[in-house]
Symmetry: D2
Subunit: 337 residues, 4 copies
């Protein structure tokens, strides 16, 4: 159960609501985000909502039986739109494209990428400065200095930045230099990280776990939302299956399922979902056609020389062609709906 | 190694080629299909193709290192087109739509479905008369009488029939009444059935196994081809994974991968791939955009009353709307290529 | 619902029972096996069993809500024991060991294997004469001649034979020469084959499908049982997962789960379950300790020269050592229960 | 490549070795643990080890081509033994049993559990005070106060403590009160946490990821080892597959595979691996028989009243019986090896 509270609610009215809900056999948890205040009621008992609905300070009340509550589409019908400023938004009827290298490597690479994005009307650049690597001996990214260098250039060009945060201590360090925090597939259930990201006022994109369920992805988003941050984007990036002809198995089913279960924007990462450069475009197009609000993918001026993930990275020609097609596909879908 | 033989080759020339290939350390198998004659060489030794290429009776010679040979796109560059007669084809730049109920139920259902297909320009009707069911106590289909009834009506309407064959003895029985034999997901590795289907001259659609790999699907097709039947269609229908939010996990990656590995047409079955009626359209659109040559899906005049698979079956309104969108998506993709 | 009928039941009494059950909203199916007669009632309505239980000709009546009925442990509490003759049994408190090569190759191999088995007190020999192979160009087995040669030698030595049947037409051919028909993992859901095996009076061992569920394995057994053959053995042989460090993933959980769900004997195939020779013993021991009624594994006089599956095949020294340990483990478990 | 350095090595000798290795095309990383100093060489070039082996300060040199190096069994043949003090060890020919509740709940529960363990000769108690929960609204554990209470009682009784650490900031807080840090399945690839655990001198048990590969588990251990902590225990706890008859699928294959790939002790968690109380014993016995060095499982005085995981938790009678059987199985295996 979600009880939306009025902004002007008095403490003592809130207390009375909590007591009433408790007496009905529900545990309550209060959530205050940048956008509103809520009481979450956890329990299974059936009762007549009118017993509560008339109480002072309540704006609205909704039954939500899913394990996740605030991210559910059952109480919030209009889609959430994330505003990154300068006219850049994610969700709500736009196609958001986020592109860039796997790893930020150096100034030249950043400049070339920014130029490429500007020429193709892409407003958000992805890139890693902290890289989760399965081997401790692999390249782990440029770190905060790389991020600062990148931020200076991106800001000057009007390009927004999305980058992965791997641990709680990096949140504060990265905060001034990113527009969207990305939670990687290995951290989808790193609950402490999610809790802390709930306390910042910048958007968070959560990738689905390497073998995470759709339900778990929504529950991870619930962590961030219930800790105070409503600015959430979900990302399907392929799951681990027995099939080894591709790096992961893109779960295209997850796109329409997520879109119907939650009000949050849903984007797809075709680069990781298939892991083979020549097929990335097909999966990106399929994702848009399945209803994705955006695409996040890897591009590099010379994929064969990229520090990481070169085998799934588009060059700029391929990237430009794909962006053009994605826009046409998105327009077609919008026209037909 | 695939050696294409000239139609006019003399027996003794063929014998000399076999001896030469054997002396190079290869085992050979001769394949004769409705369309041509081939010698398949199985082995790993490297040698200079020119030692063989000049021999009398050889039309062409190709190295193919995959375990599957004749279905590989490495030796046959132009896509295979399956001609069902009356202007109905599968593959080769057309979008093939195959629709109909899970099970053939009765005359009225067949008539209603045929009308629906004709109104929407769909030329191929799917339907089961032999149903593989996990419980021996479930409805197993109308059998051959149902097929005859269906065939009579479909033929009169100019509609082609695709239907599942479950065992060798059904091939002969079904032969006069089907235009395409369908091999179901549980029979993808029923090698005796595949061998026998290699001896008929009607097309065969092979569904990917419930947890089959892309490689295994191609090897199953190789069985039919090497037994004499080149008229093959491959079908992605979702795979079994840990995710239970959908019936199966549509492996959208398989579409572009199969299209690049084989010259055979590739279609998608969104009904089984997601298993939830409201999302079938999204998956069908995604499949077309990923490069599928066709879509095979379930539709019924009253899905909630269907004998089987009602939860993933479109009604005729949904079906008509989807067909219209699929055509637009296919046109867009063709225009952009 | 399972109604056990008295052997002496009159046709008209049976008819009255069917009418009564039907009037309660159940569909009925009559099953006659070598061991008894049953009426299976399929339905969900609740009713007082006493309404039916007193009717003439009924020996007993059991509620079974699982999709599988006759193989369920809910109505038949004592474990099923399969008698192969000459004192060789499977199930019921014995450890059954079945060993032999992947493929029957020649007379010498058969003789060496039989000697090895006799020396180690193993009474059942496995071996394939029809081999399901993913490539049509691979060795497909010696066929019926190989089986006859093998049978002659095994019979003379008092060794029982288990061998895979791949299609309906082989049942009759193989019948005189095998003691147990084996259904391979690719045919677990080949329902026509299962139906036909229900009509023979020799035992059938059903391997779990490559990615079959425990429920599906039980349903496959239900096919054979409901078609008339109660002599069934279930076999866990590993399932397909994302983990590639082993050929399959042995689902050790399936052993105690199957043992509690069904009255049928359950054996394990460690050779296919892990696929790596040096670890086969560990998995065999684990299976016994988890409650398996038997072990079926691959052994060959020279595994490195075996026609197939050499990488997972034990030599005779390893085999002898393993048999000795398996017996000790089985004794320990029996002593502790 | 792993170069073991002599304890007395001079800085300038070490520098010369690094230069030599670098000149051969290898990147080097120096690792100092509580037990020794190593240079890890990362590269693929072949060279004659004798070029390096004679240099001053080198104790030994080993080729290790796996992605993981220091945890590999290829350079360190004797098994690692973890000493927890007071005669409690893990690995090296002993069976280590770790038992206790999912969550630490209160003083009475702790006392009852400690008594139970002492009566059955179990020296290590498991229990969670920080609980990773997929829903933010679920019970998250008693936290550090619960740990202190537990520690006081356990220490008085001579019982060692293993408990899960979820984030970097908890390491210091928990340090005085635990004997073994446990890394949970959701944190197996939380590399920052692993890095920090490499800096402490207490043992770390790493659970395999929910869908982690064996290779990834070893790489996670490599993180901790290469950051300085050699005291590592690996734990198989079941993986996520399509099979839903059990909570997870116990990968029994992982036990012998891990034992042969690494010198670290390997334990099994049957409670999570199957998730069903009545079958836990079977899986524990199977794990021991497959070669596990220990078993970690859940027990509670009243499983049906446990705060979490009650459905997979043994009561004390079941626990006592299982411990007795595990010891007998372990003795049998030891006697036969």
């Amino acid at each position: 159960m979600i009880i939306q509270l009025q902004p002007t609610i008095q403490t003592q009215d809130k207390q009375m609501i909590v007591e009433k809900i408790t007496s009905l056999g529900y545990k309550t948890m209060e959530v205050t985000t940048q956008r509103g205040s809520y009481l979450i009621g956890i329990g299974k008992k059936e009762f007549d909502v009118r017993q509560v609905g008339h109480m002072r300070g309540i704006a609205d009340i909704h039954r939500v039986s899913d394990e996740y509550k605030l991210v559910s589409g059952k109480w919030k019908v209009e889609p959430t739109v994330i505003d990154l400023g300068d006219g850049v938004t994610v969700g709500g009827g736009n196609l958001s494209i986020m592109a860039g290298p796997c790893s930020i490597e150096n100034e030249q690479q950043v400049d070339l990428t920014i130029n490429h994005l500007k020429e193709n009307g892409v407003r958000i650049m992805r890139g890693g400065v902290y890289k989760p690597r399965s081997s401790p001996y692999a390249f782990r990214g440029l770190g905060i200095d790389g991020l600062k260098m990148w931020h200076e250039r991106a800001q000057a060009a009007g390009i927004k930045i999305i980058s992965e945060v791997m641990q709680v201590s990096q949140i504060e360090t990265m905060y001034p230099y990113v527009d969207v925090f990305q939670v990687g597939a290995r951290n989808t259930q790193n609950y402490n990280l999610l809790d802390e990201l709930g306390k910042v006022d910048k958007p968070v994109l959560i990738k689905r776990g390497i073998s995470g369920t759709i339900e778990e992805l929504l529950s991870s988003a619930e962590y961030v939302f219930s800790a105070g941050n409503e600015k959430l984007i979900l990302c399907e990036r392929g799951i681990r299956t027995y099939e080894k002809a591709s790096r992961n198995t893109m779960d295209i089913n997850a796109i329409p399922i997520l879109k119907s279960k939650t009000h949050l924007p849903v984007v797809a990462d075709p680069s990781h979902a298939i892991g083979i450069r020549e097929y990335v475009e097909s999966i990106a197009l399929a994702s848009v056609m399945a209803g994705a609000d955006g695409i996040i993918y890897e591009t590099h001026q010379k994929p064969e020389e990229a520090f990481s993930d070169g085998q799934q990275t588009l060059d700029f020609n391929e990237s430009a062609r794909m962006v053009r097609k994605l826009k046409k596909a998105f327009e077609l879908l919008a026209a037909e709906s």
